[in-house]
Structures are given as structure tokens and as C-alpha cells.
Symmetry: C2
Subunit: 137 residues, 2 copies
């Protein structure tokens, strides 16, 4: 993940303690934290970090294409660091758990010309919903 920091530094990022901590907090697979959760975890390592900085940093990471914004439920946005392997999401309707998934096939091809209304369609986002094993019990 210091790959990430390296990559950002060569893009002109000033490497501050705050940004380092935010990037560290986002490490891992199936990570989908809200901005407040990122702030809480970052604050454990760097107590003075402000909410504004967390929002700024997350926003920059999104703009740079290093993190993806996901709005699963209708509440706070979540931040997904798995930006380099395209994927979709599966979420538990009961507890809100989120997993990254890779369906086969290309849904972009499934939208007939007659259903495009003259749009140039470039992206598709899929969200599966269900009940996770923990909630099925």
C-alpha cells in the first residue's frame, strides 16, 4: 500500500502524516468505511486529525481514481480502496455487510439501442442485495 503513497507522491502529492494515516486506514479487501469511520480509525493513530481533512483526503483519492465512492444504502457514502480491479457490490439488507463481487458477463451489452435514449453510455454499476450468512441464522 506504500505503492499508493509512492504513486501519489510522484503525482505531486505532499506527503503529510494525515494523508498517510488515511491511506493506511483504507488498506485491505472488502473495506467499505464511511468518512466518519475513517476519521475514527485515523484518530486512533493521529488524534488531532480533523474531519475536514479526512473529507478532503478521501475526495482527492476519489478524484485521483485510487478510491471509489459507494452509496449502498441511502445514508453515508462509503469509500472502497479496491479501485484498480473493476467490481460490483453485494450487500446484506439486514446488517449492511458489503462484499466486492465479480459477476460474469457485461451488462453494458444488455442495454438495447432502443433503450439508450440517445445517451452515450459508458459505465454500469450493479448492486446485488440479499441476506448474509450471519443474518440467515
Amino acid at each position: 500500500m506504500s505503492d499508493l503513497l509512492e504513486r501519489l507522491r510522484t503525482r505531486g502529492w505532499r506527503l503529510t502524516a494525515q494523508r498517510r494515516v488515511v491511506a493506511e486506514v483504507l488498506e485491505g479487501d472488502h473495506v467499505h468505511l464511511t468518512a466518519d469511520e475513517v476519521h475514527a480509525r485515523a484518530a486512533q493513530r493521529l488524534p488531532e486529525i480533523s474531519r475536514a481533512t479526512v473529507y478532503n483526503t478521501l475526495g482527492e483519492l476519489v478524484n485521483l481514481g485510487e478510491v471509489i465512492e459507494v452509496s449502498t444504502d441511502h445514508r453515508a457514502k462509503r469509500y472502497d480502496p479496491n479501485a484498480h480491479r473493476p467490481h460490483h457490490h453485494l450487500l446484506c439488507a439486514r446488517c449492511g455487510a458489503i462484499r466486492d463481487v465479480h459477476p460474469v458477463g457485461n451488462p453494458l451489452a444488455d442495454l438495447p439501442e432502443s433503450e439508450r435514449f440517445g445517451f452515450s453510455v459508458s459505465e454500469v454499476e450493479l448492486t446485488y442485495r440479499g441476506i448474509c450468512p450471519d443474518c440467515t441464522v
Copy 2:
């Protein structure tokens, strides 16, 4: 659309002027208004209607399955009265225009067992993004 009101009345809905106006505002195809937009339009016909009532009514319509909540961008929820014909959404990344679309194929079948993580998957939501004809110019 008085079908809708009729249907609701037989389900025990008390038919008030406010609810009637909200239902009327939602008439039509490709309608995806925010709660505030619904309130503004309803207020043209019934100036005293309150925001709280609009929120309540929209929430009830969603619970009754007569209206679908859509969160396209990460801003206000939108309300889609086209609840009886399953569909997905196509939206313009520039101006936010939304169209109802009906892709062929079933994305539920495209999620392999190995990608289900033990979930019982029951629903899938598709959002296409692109640029609409008006914004392409």
C-alpha cells in the same frame, strides 16, 4: 392514476387533500423527483402542505410498494412512481437526467455461486451512466 388512489383507499388509506396532491404530482413516465421537488409542486396546488407531510406520504407510498426510492447521485433521494414494471436507470453524468430502462438478460444469473459469499441473493439494481443527447452537444 386515480387507480392508485382507489387502490390505496381499499387498503385503509384515509384520502386527504394532501395525499391526493402528492399522488397527482407523481403522475407520469420517467418521473424522478426529490422530496423537495414534490413538495414545491404540491404546494402550487395546496399552498399549506408541509414538508413533513410530503415526507410521510412518500414514505408510505414506498412502504406500500407504489413508489420506488432511487438514490442516483449521492444527494437527495428521488421518488419513482413506476413501481409496477421492474426497471433500472440510466443517468446523465453531466446534468443528472434520468430515464427508466429495461435491459435484456438477468444479471442475477451472472453472479457465480463462488461470488455469493453464502448470501441468499434476491435483488439486483443496475445503474447505467453516460452523457445524454442534450449534454453531448
